[in-house]
Subunit: 517 residues, 2 copies
Amino acid sequence: MEKIPSRERMIEMKTAPPEYQDLTDRMAEIRNLSKLAALAHWDMQCNMPSAGAEARKEQLVTLTGLIHRHMTAPHIGDLLHRLRSFQDSLPHASDEAATLRTVAREYEKATRIPESLARERVTASSEGLQAWLRARETRDFSRFLPALERNFDMSLRIAEALNPSSPPLDVLIDQREPGFDVEGVESVFSDLKEVLIPLILRVAEKPDAVDDAVLRQHYDPDTQWELTLKAVRDIGFDLQQRGRQDISVHPFTTSFSIDDVRITTRIRANEFSAAFFASLHEAGHGTYEQGFPKEWERSILATSASGGMHESQSRLWENIVGRSPEFWEFFYPEVQRHFPEQTEGTSHGDFYRAVNRIQPSFIRVEADEVTYNLHIIIRFELEKAAFEGELSLEDMPEAWNEKYEKYLGITPEDPVEGVLQDIHWSGGFGSSFISYTLGNVISAQLFGAALREHPDMKEKFRQGDFSRLLSWMQQNVHAHGQKFPPRELVRQATGEEFNTGPFLDYIKSKTETLYGP
Amino acid sequence: MEKIPSRERMIEMKTAPPEYQDLTDRMAEIRNLSKLAALAHWDMQCNMPSAGAEARKEQLVTLTGLIHRHMTAPHIGDLLHRLRSFQDSLPHASDEAATLRTVAREYEKATRIPESLARERVTASSEGLQAWLRARETRDFSRFLPALERNFDMSLRIAEALNPSSPPLDVLIDQREPGFDVEGVESVFSDLKEVLIPLILRVAEKPDAVDDAVLRQHYDPDTQWELTLKAVRDIGFDLQQRGRQDISVHPFTTSFSIDDVRITTRIRANEFSAAFFASLHEAGHGTYEQGFPKEWERSILATSASGGMHESQSRLWENIVGRSPEFWEFFYPEVQRHFPEQTEGTSHGDFYRAVNRIQPSFIRVEADEVTYNLHIIIRFELEKAAFEGELSLEDMPEAWNEKYEKYLGITPEDPVEGVLQDIHWSGGFGSSFISYTLGNVISAQLFGAALREHPDMKEKFRQGDFSRLLSWMQQNVHAHGQKFPPRELVRQATGEEFNTGPFLDYIKSKTETLYGP
C-alpha cells in the first residue's frame, strides 16, 4: 500500500522565492475574510434577532464581493505565473506544490465568475432562506418557488461561467466532488439501488422485528443537551478550548480557525434520536475541522478534500460508530443515568436495535442508514431532471411525492415533510445532496482500513476509547486537508480505489444481524 | 428654545449629484465591514473558545487594515472635493450636509494614520487583552506592564499622527469627546470635586444611615437572569426582534444594525446589583443604538454623537431611572416575586435606599452615583500624569493606590481591586474614562429637559411606563445620531449649554433625601 510521506519527511522549502510568501500572505488574508463570513453565517443561524436579517445580508454581500475581488486580483495571476518554474521544481506531494495547485485552481475558478454574480448569489441565498422559512411556516411550496427558480437560474449561470462546454450539472458536481460527474454519481447510485431496494422490501415484511418506541417518549431537553455534550466529548471533539456546541434550527458545522470549531444541534422534546445523532454527525465534521495541522492555520490547504470527504467523517461517527453495538455497550449506561424512567425495562441491546430500526420515512435526516441513501437518490434524480429540462420546478412537489412513492412506498401529505424539508435548496440548487451518500460510501472504506491497522479498535469502543479511530482519521485524512483530490486521498488512505463494496457489505451484514438473513 | 427641525421638514435632496450616491455607497460598504468587525469582537467576548483568540486577532487585523484602506482611498478624497459646491448649497442641518461633514472628518482622520499603525493597534489591543487577563489571574501588574506601555506608545503615535501640533491628550480627548480638551475636562471635574468631596465626607459620618445587607445574599443566577430580561424589556429595549442579551466577563453593548443590537451582562451569585444595574446600563446604550432612524441603516450618521453622549443614555437608565424611588415602587414587587426569601422583611423603600447607599469602594462599576465620579477623576489624573511625563507607567499601581487613599480614603490591597480592575487600558490608553462622567452630567441635563416637557413622567414610572422618557430621548437625541457635535446636541435638546448644574443638584438632593441635610 502506497503511503503519503509524513509531513516531517517533506522537503523543506528553504529556497521558496519571495513571490511565494507574497502569494500565501494574500491567501491568508482571503482566508481571514472568509472565516469572518463564516462567523456572520453562524451568528445568523445561532443568535441573530430576526430583524437583523436585512442588514446581515448586506454585510455578507459586501464581504463576499471583497473576497471575490481579492481572489481575482490580477496580481494573483502574475504571482502564479512567476512561480511556474518554482512549482515545476517541487515534489508533487509537498505542501508548496499542493498550495500552488490549489491557488491556481481557485484563482481560475474565481476569475470566471463576475463579481456581480458572486454578490448576487449571496443575495439569492439569503433571500432564499427567508422565503423557505416563510413557505414552511405557511406549508405552501408556491411561496418558495420564486426563490427556487432564482437559485436554479443562479446555478445555471455559475456553471455556464465556469465551463460553458460541459453540461451544467457535471460542472457543479465537479466543484463539490472533484473527480465525479453525473455518470460517476449514477454508477454509485446504481450499485446502491441494486442492493438497498430489495433489502428494504425484505425488511418491510418484518415491520415488528425491531421496536423503537423507547425513542419516542418525553426526553427533557436540558438533559438531552447534557447528554449530547458528553457524547461529543467522548468521541474526541474538543469542546473545552477549541470548539463549542450551540442550538440552531438546522444542525451544521463551521469553523473560524483550526482552534475554533462550532457545531450545532437541535432538540426535540418527544424524541431521543434527533439531537443525539445530529450532535454526533456534526461532531464528526468538527473533528475534521479541528484535525488540520496546526501549522496550516493560514493555509488554503486547511479545508476538506470534498463535500463527500467531509460527510465521510460525519456519517462515520453518526452511524458506523454511533449506531454500533460497541458504542451502545459503552454509552447506554449514560442514557440510563440521565433518563432512568424512559429506559426502564430496556436493555442496551434493545436500545441499540431501536436506534437502528429500518423503516421508510419522510425526513432524510431522521432516516436509518439503509433508506437514507434513497432520500439522496430521489433528490439527485429530481435535480438532474430539472437540469435536463425534463422537470419544471413548479412541478417539484408532485415529482417529489411520486419518487417517494416509487422508492419508499410512502407519500408525504405535507410539503414540510416533503419538498420543503431541507434547507439546501434555499441556498442553491444542484449537487448539494450527493455528498452525503458519497460520504457514506467513503466512511465504510476508511473504517475498514482503520480496522485493519487497529484490529482491537471496536473492542476499545466498549470502554469508551475512540482514540485509535480518531488518530487514524487525523493522520490519514485530516492531516492532508485538500492537498489531494478525494479519489487520490481515498486510495492513499485505504490502499483501494473508491468503491461501494465496503459500504454495501456493512449494510448487508448489519441488516442481517438486525432482521435475520 | 431653538429646536432642530424634524427630519420630515428637511429639504429633500432630489438634486444630489451622482458623486453623492457613489460616496454614500462606499461609506455603506465600510459600515458593513465595520459591523462585521463588531460581530467578531462580540463573539470573542461572548462565545469564542479560548484557543480561538490567535486566529481571531489575525482576522481582525486583516479586516481593520481593509477598512482603513477603503476609508483612505484617494477616490474618497476626489469625491469629497467634487462635492464641495454641492455641500455649500445645503442647509447646515440637512442629512446630506451632516453626512459630507462627517465623511470629510473621518477621511481626514483616517488618512493621517498609516495602515500599518491602524493594524498594529488592533494587534496591540488583542494582545493587551490577553496580557491583562493573565495579569488578573496571577494578580500581578508586572505581567500587564509591557502591554500597557505598548498601548501608551500606540496612543502617542496616533495622537502625533492626527495632530502633531497639539498635546497628545488633547488630541485623544477631542477624538472621543469632540469639543472637549484637557482644560475643559478639568473644569468639569473641578466643579464636581468641589461638591462631591465634602458630600462624601459628610456621608462618611453616618455609615449606618443606609443598610444594603439585603443586596449581599445568595441570588440564584438563573432567576437573576430572568429578572434582568424583565427590567430591560420594561424600560423599552427591544429584546424580541431587534436585540438580545448575553453573558460576558465585562458587560458591553454593540450593534450590527439598528435592528440587531446586542447587550451583555454578568451575574454574581452573592450580589444583587452587579447583574441588575449592568443590564440597565447596557440596555440604556442599547436604546440609543436601536433608536437611530431606520432609514439611516446604511448611513455614517447612525452612530452616537460622542462617548459621553452614549454614556448619558446608559447612566440615565442605570441611575436616574434605575435608582429612583418611582422605579422601585414599580419594580420591587417583581424582585419580591422572584426572590421571596431574600426580600422578606424588606420594604420597597428599604430596597430603594439599599441600591443607593453611598460608600467609598474599590470597584468603579459597583460604585454609587456620588463616589463613581471620583473613580473617573482618579483615572483621568493618572492618564494625564503619564502623558505629561510625570508618572512612569511602572509606578502606576502605587500612584493608583495613593489617589484612592487621597480621594476615597481607602487603599486596595490587591491589584485586581485596584489598577487591574478595568478592561479599558488593555485596549488603549488615554481618554477612555472621562465619557462616563460627562455622561452623568449630560444625563441629568437631558432628564431635566424631558421632565419639563412631560411633568407626569416620574408618576408614570410608578406604573412601569417609561415610554415618555424613551420617546423624548429617541426624538431629541437618538434621531440625530452623530449629525451634530455633542455640545450642540445638548444645547438643542435641552435649551441650555452643557453644564454640571443639573447633575450636582440631582446628587445633592438625592443625598439629602437619603442621609439628611
